[in-house]
């Protein structure tokens, strides 16, 4: 429990470091079609969850949290220039980066009928396996 609290504090610390206003403009973006992932956000979330291999040490330490990663999607759907926007701790960050690099969109974003590169941000959630209700009641 203490470690969970510690990890939350680390998360909040990262949050304050990265909380910067880097988008001064409200743009009417020239994107006709967003990048497409099979089954949209649900499909992407499922893919991420299936790929995650919970780091052993993080499991032992009972650390969970959300790593936020941004990347660019190129004109073929591949992702590049992955960057951690908010991290939790090194092993979770590394695993999140590894998973993010596996993401490939089926279709790129389109601008006036032509593919363009766009930036995208994803949350990669590390959630410890929960014990079942009945099991907890037995305790």
């Amino acid at each position: 429990m203490v470690k969970i609290v510690v990890s939350m504090l680390v998360f909040l610390f990262n949050l304050s470091i990265h909380a910067q206003n880097d988008s001064l403009y409200w743009e009417l973006m020239a994107i006709d079609t967003p990048p497409f992932y099979n089954n949209n956000e649900h499909g992407l979330k499922n893919f991420i969850q299936k790929q995650i291999k919970y780091p052993e040490k993080a499991l032992t330490d009972s650390v969970e949290g959300i790593v936020i990663i941004s990347f660019w999607i190129d004109t073929t759907g591949y992702t590049y220039t992955h960057k951690i926007i908010r991290g939790v701790r090194e092993d979770l960050n590394d695993e999140a980066l590894r998973v993010a690099k596996l993401i490939k969109f089926e279709r790129p974003a389109m601008q006036r009928g032509k593919p363009i590169s766009v930036m995208f941000t994803v949350p990669i959630e590390f959630k410890l396996p929960r014990q079942g209700k009945s099991h907890r009641m037995c305790k």
């Binding site: 949050l15 990265h18 909380a19 910067q20 206003n21 880097d22 988008s23 001064l24 403009y25 409200w26 743009e27 009417l28 973006m29 020239a30 994107i31 006709d32 079609t33 967003p34 990048p35 949209n40 956000e41 992407l44 979330k45 936020i68 941004s70 660019w72 926007i85 908010r86 974003a109 601008q111 363009i116 590169s117 766009v118 930036m119 995208f120 941000t121 994803v122 949350p123």
Partner: protein
Amino acid sequence: MFWIIPNISWSKKGGVSIGISIVFGIPGGASIQFGGGYNFKSGDAYGYAGATFAFNSIYTSISSQSGWSAGYTACASVFSGFPVSTNFLTAGANYNITHGSWGGNLSAWEVNNDSWSFNPSVSAMVFPEHTTNFVRGQGFRSNNGVLRRFVAAGNQQGALDYFGFEGRYDPTKTSKRYQSEPGEYWGATDSEGNISYGKLAFDNYATLKGTYMKEIYTRNNILNHKYHSLPEEYQGLGFDTYLEEIYGYVHAYKNQGLFSGHQLCLSGINYYQGQLSLFGINYPIYPTTFEFIYKIPRLW
């Protein structure tokens, strides 16, 4: 803002009339108007002055055959700014000062001297853009035609000033969230409410007006401290503006009738929605019930 609006009208009893109105303000919203016309069937010449607020109009008129009148009309009358209007959607009362008599209408049914009669009418604006631009020294051209002249002369800023669209033309701005050539955007509003227009906004007049409407919405939200910010825990991730963008898109979507024929990609909202959805942030979507209503062309 003012418009010169020629119009042609027909009614069952009165036949065909032509007229011209000079309108100051926003017709249907808050405007005053003056005008005159001629009815071919009766040979009646008339003039009027009136004021409209929220689809309620008061007016006084003088006619060569009926003398002075004053009246009130409500709903989508000819004063409301619709390109085509009919008395089916109106109710009104009229007092003839010269003869001391009352009249009125409820939809297309008119009452005069205690008798009801069915007198449908329809009125259509004729070349209101062309006429207004002509009076303003741009020749007998549509707004599109005027815009094309400004753009051909490389004077995009002149076009913005002429049409009264607040903001500056800036063909150098680039996005941090997608890769494209400088100036390849429609519009942008900075955190102080200053509006910029990119090259794409000048495709045609409707696109320029749509861009203005979307950006002025955001500008007003910023200046009135009403812009839609993300929940605090999601701020600073690089998409702080996305919720406001989505609301701006919805605003533009609901006002499409004001800029029919635009080249804006309203489907672009999906990009922002998809991004926020991943984080479980609530956002508005386009109305799907009776969506055609938003697309009905209107001038104001």
